[in-house]
């Protein structure tokens, strides 16, 4: 998550509206985006909220779900509503880093030959890395610098990526053969990991109605790139009460097998817990969630709501946990329950 503050926002700091007005505007903009996305995407409100929260927080999202659930459509729609450039990269085993980052080519212009860097698909505001686990680790790691630093280095030349830069990667949990699971270091770069659930019956009706008819929903851009940066800055202004922050820290500590306040389940099935990036993600997401809910400070409920998507890919199960089929979500639910009981 890059932290490049918008210069316009900093310049107009003195003219910042009161928190109440800023929060109302925040909520209006978010609602507008969600409304536009809702024209195309049926249901999946939590996925939409999660993606918006991660984007506003400056993070990236790892979407996990079976093919055909509208992941690509979600990203494409979102990019269109936010008026951002969008790139889609289908990760395959033979995909090379240059295929993502770009490459230097020899260009003859005016009788002179020169090397020119041809930018890859990473140079966009929103990147959809489809089935990212099918690429080799070498290719996967090509995204590391872009995701963490917001820049791309090719040869001796570093190229700054334009903000907002948002990577949304997907992976199929079913077809694991011939895949390269993301290493922990790369997983840690993702702000959220969201599970895309299969739509229910009503949602399927709506999907069929929209996609098999002649109606073609037009998604309008409702938010500018500059506004996204302002919202990102606004979210960082939100203060967190000590007891809420302490609650988030205790949740983080409880994910470690040897951490204080851990439940027995963590000790039994967890190999290692979340890194501090996890609690950073929790707090940032809690702030944005509080603003989206019309509050000026996050609560413990916000922490609980954002803890699972922020930590599920950061908690590594041990052999026993893997053998027992214990999912990290279940462990985190136990952690939250334990910490909640202890805080009462």
């Amino acid at each position: 998550m890059t932290q490049s503050a918008p210069s316009a926002a900093q310049a107009n700091k003195s003219a910042t509206p009161p928190p109440k007005e800023a929060m109302d505007a925040f909520r209006r903009d978010i609602d507008a985006v969600k409304k536009e996305v809702g024209k195309v995407i049926v249901g999946n409100d939590e996925i939409v909220d999660g993606v918006l929260i991660a984007m506003i927080a400056g993070g990236h999202v790892l979407l996990e779900g079976v093919p055909g659930l509208g992941k690509t459509m979600l990203v494409r729609t979102l990019a269109r509503a936010l008026d951002l450039t969008f790139s889609r990269v289908q990760f395959t085993p033979d995909l090379m880093p240059a295929d993502i980052l770009g490459t230097t080519v020899l260009v003859e212009e005016g009788g002179q030959k020169r090397f020119d860097f041809q930018r890859g698909p990473v140079f966009a505001h929103m990147i959809l890395a489809d089935e990212i686990n099918r690429a080799t680790p070498k290719t996967q790691s090509a995204l590391l610098e872009a995701m963490q630093e917001g820049s791309v280095t090719v040869g001796k030349q570093t190229y700054k990526l334009e903000q907002p830069f948002f990577v949304l990667a997907t992976q199929n949990p079913l077809e694991m053969e011939g895949t390269y699971p993301l290493p922990e270091a790369q997983l840690d770069r993702f702000f959220f990991k969201l599970h895309v659930d299969f739509p229910d019956r009503e949602e399927l009706h709506a999907i069929l109605d929209r996609t098999t008819g002649t109606d073609n929903a037009e998604v309008r851009p409702v938010m500018t790139r500059q506004r996204i940066l302002e919202l990102r800055w606004l979210a960082r202004e939100v203060s967190v009460a000590r007891h809420v922050q302490d609650f988030a820290i205790r949740v983080l500590q409880a994910t470690h097998p040897d951490g204080p306040g851990r439940p027995e389940m963590v000790k039994q099935f967890v190999r290692f817990g979340s890194s501090p990036r996890g609690v950073q993600s929790i707090l940032m997401a809690s702030k944005i969630r509080a603003l989206m809910d019309g509050r000026f400070a996050p609560s413990e409920d916000d922490v609980k709501a954002t803890a699972i998507p922020a930590l599920r890919h950061r908690v590594n199960m041990n052999f026993e946990g893997e053998a027992e089929g214990i999912r990290s979500d279940k462990v985190l639910e136990k952690v939250l329950e334990t910490v909640q009981k202890a805080s009462k």
Binding site: Q3, P18, P19, Q148, V238, R242, H243, P276, Q280, A297
Partner: protein, 646 residues
């Protein structure tokens, strides 16, 4: 996402407010403050109630225990009241602890947030309000204002936030209180242990000297060992118990004499008459046999029976049986014996019938006179005659009773003699056997006479005990006791300050002991050969002493324990020996004992004592010792009696 400290965050988490700030910070807003304050009061109230109810269970339990202890008497009523008061302190302490236990504003705000789904608005506002105003961000202020607004919009009723729930302990406390009521209502039967009454002994117990007690106990023990009949054993046992009671000082003087009298009466009751009846029966049997004593075979038997000598009579009967068995008895002798025994049997039957007739006549006459008395007033002569007849009847009845008693005593003997009489002419062997049986019966009588001797000795001991009791607490009182103590000391050979003179040879005639009273002279060394007991006993052929007997027992002794041999001529060579008193050497009693054991030939002291005591008794019975001094003699021999350990 970069590290947090790398990011130029315009707002970071506020500094952590101190707990004091959280408790005493300014209210975030009037509405929120009011709600939080009410909540805190509510929390205190609920805690106080819960604390009181929870501890009331322990208080009730304690009260039940206290009440139970009071009811069963393990705890006094006063202590029980204090314990019940202490039980009341339990819920009181619980209430106080619950009420005074602090609750932070943050905790109260969190309770309200959770109860009214305020999503931590109040708790966030509490924390933000604790941050100094200059350090607050605008979002902090906005959060505070938001909390105030929410507090105003929602009716934050603390009762909804914290409803009172009855703790489980309250139920137990209720049950225990019910038990307390039941226990308080029930009157348990308690066992009260009264102090055991102290056995009250006599105010003025009869006290005998330890020597006397020991002596009587020894006599009692000897009597018990020698007793071979139930009567003798019972008498000895009673005597021993009586001595034990005196030794334990459980009898006063009056009670002791009463018991002694009872003992003597029991011992005498019927015993003398039985003995006399037996003797009379034997004499009568002897007379009956004597009337036909033409034959010398029965003469000796008759004489022995007339003398009531059962032992000799038994020997004569055995002699007769032997003659029968050896067929040395002529037909005439047998006939004479048979006639004698038959006459004796007939005479006894005749006497019995005569007495029965007399009794019958006398009863009829008395009955007639009594009938006349009922019908008319008898004259004085008639009344005198009636009384005379009644007395005669009583006398005759006594005689008949004695006669029957004699018959009982000789029943087996007469039966045996009757069978012998019948068998004399038919079966001499059987007759001899019958005579043997008669002899055995006479032996039994002889044995009974021996028992009588033991009882007689016991009676003698009782009499001595009576004497001792009289002397102990009697007329002399303390002075008498002191005198007896001095006597005992002198008897053991102890030094008596004053009133002691050395003994001097006397020995006027061998074997005769003569005791003389001690004089009042000073304490002087002894003279002559042997002193004290060693003098005048004539066991070493000592000559007649030329010196008058000393007044008192000797206090010195001969170291050689034996006096020099007296001259055959009987002239006593008098040697003066100065006694030495250097506080060394054996005690006087040891010396006397040694002298008794070793100084007189080789006779044991027990034997010597017995010989002397027998002699002393003969002297006493002969009347040579004045009655007032006989008890001294007895006591003297009692004090110097041989002990078991000697």
């Amino acid at each position: 996402m970069s590290k947090a400290n790398d990011s130029p965050t315009p707002s970071v988490a506020p500094p952590k407010p101190s707990p004091e700030a959280l408790s005493t910070s300014l209210p975030p807003s009037p509405a929120a403050d009011e709600a939080i304050a009410k909540m805190r009061s509510r929390v205190r109230l609920v805690r106080a109630l819960r604390g009181g109810l929870e501890l009331s269970m322990f208080g009730a339990g304690f009260a039940v225990v206290a009440m139970t202890l009071v009811k069963v008497g393990r705890v006094s009523d006063r202590a029980g009241r204090w314990m019940l008061l202490a039980a009341l302190l339990f819920p009181l302490v619980g209430v106080l602890v619950g009420a005074l236990r602090g609750i932070s504003r943050l905790s109260a705000a969190q309770l309200l947030d959770r109860a009214f789904a305020l999503k931590d608005r109040l708790s966030n506002a509490v924390e933000f309000s604790a941050v100094p105003t200059g350090e607050r961000t605008r979002f902090m202020d906005a959060a505070i204002e938001d909390a105030d607004q929410k507090a105003r919009e929602n009716k934050l009723d603390p009762k909804k936030a914290l409803a009172f729930k009855w703790p489980a302990e309250a139920g137990y406390a209720g049950v225990l209180l019910a038990v307390l009521g039941v226990v308080g209502a029930v009157e348990l039967r308690t066992r009260v242990f009264l102090p055991a009454p102290v056995a009250a002994g006599p105010r003025d117990p009869l006290e005998l000297a330890d020597d006397d007690i020991d002596a009587f106990r020894e006599v009692a023990r000897q009597n018990e060992e020698r007793a071979d009949t139930p009567e003798a054993r019972q008498a000895a046992e009673r005597f021993r118990q009586f001595v034990d009671q005196i030794a334990n000082r459980r009898l006063d003087r009056e009670e002791a004499f009463r018991r002694l009298q009872e003992l003597q009466q029991e011992m005498e009751a019927g015993r003398e008459s039985d003995r006399e009846a037996l003797r009379e029966a034997l004499r009568q049997l002897g007379r009956d046999l004597q009337s036909e004593q033409n034959d010398p075979a029965t003469r000796e038997l008759s004489n022995a029976l007339q003398n009531a000598d059962a032992q000799r009579a038994a020997e004569q009967m055995r002699e007769l049986a032997r003659q029968m068995r050896e067929n040395r008895m002529t037909q005439q002798q047998r006939q004479n014996l048979q006639n004698a025994m038959q006459n004796a049997q007939q005479r006894r039957e005749r006497e019995s019938q005569q007495m029965q007739q007399q009794l019958q006549q006398m009863r009829q006459e008395i009955e007639r006179m009594l009938r006349q008395q009922r019908e008319r007033n008898l004259s004085q002569n008639e009344q005198r005659m009636l009384r005379q007849r009644q007395r005669d009847l009583e006398r005759l009845e006594r005689q008949q009773q004695q006669q029957q008693q004699r018959r009982r005593q000789l029943e087996r003997l007469e039966r045996a003699m009757s069978r012998a009489m019948q068998n004399l002419q038919r079966d001499l062997q059987q007759a001899a056997q019958n005579m043997e049986e008669g002899a055995q019966d006479l032996n039994r009588m002889q044995q009974q006479q021996l028992t009588e001797q033991q009882i007689a000795e016991l009676r003698q001991q009782l009499e001595e005990l009576r004497q001792r009791m009289r002397q102990q607490n009697g007329q002399g009182g303390q002075q008498q006791r002191q005198r007896l103590q001095r006597f005992a000391q002198r008897a053991r050979g102890g030094v008596q300050p004053g009133g002691m003179q050395p003994g001097q040879g006397q020995g006027q005639r061998p074997g005769l002991m003569r005791l003389q009273r001690g004089g009042s002279g000073g304490n002087q060394p002894g003279q002559g050969q042997g002193q004290g007991q060693g003098q005048g006993q004539g066991q070493q052929n000592g000559g007649q002493g030329q010196q008058p007997g000393g007044q008192g027992y000797g206090t010195e002794h001969d170291d050689n324990h034996r006096g020099a041999a007296s001259a055959a001529a009987g002239r006593t060579q008098q040697v003066n020996v100065n006694g030495q008193q250097n506080g060394q050497g054996p005690t006087r009693s040891q010396v006397i004992r040694t002298a008794a054991q070793e100084g007189f030939t080789t006779a044991a002291y027990r034997q010597v004592h017995q010989e002397y005591w027998d002699h002393a008794r003969e002297v006493i019975h002969a009347g040579d010792v004045p009655p007032g001094y006989r008890s001294y003699v007895r006591r003297y021999f009692q004090l110097i009696r041989p002990r078991d350990e000697q």
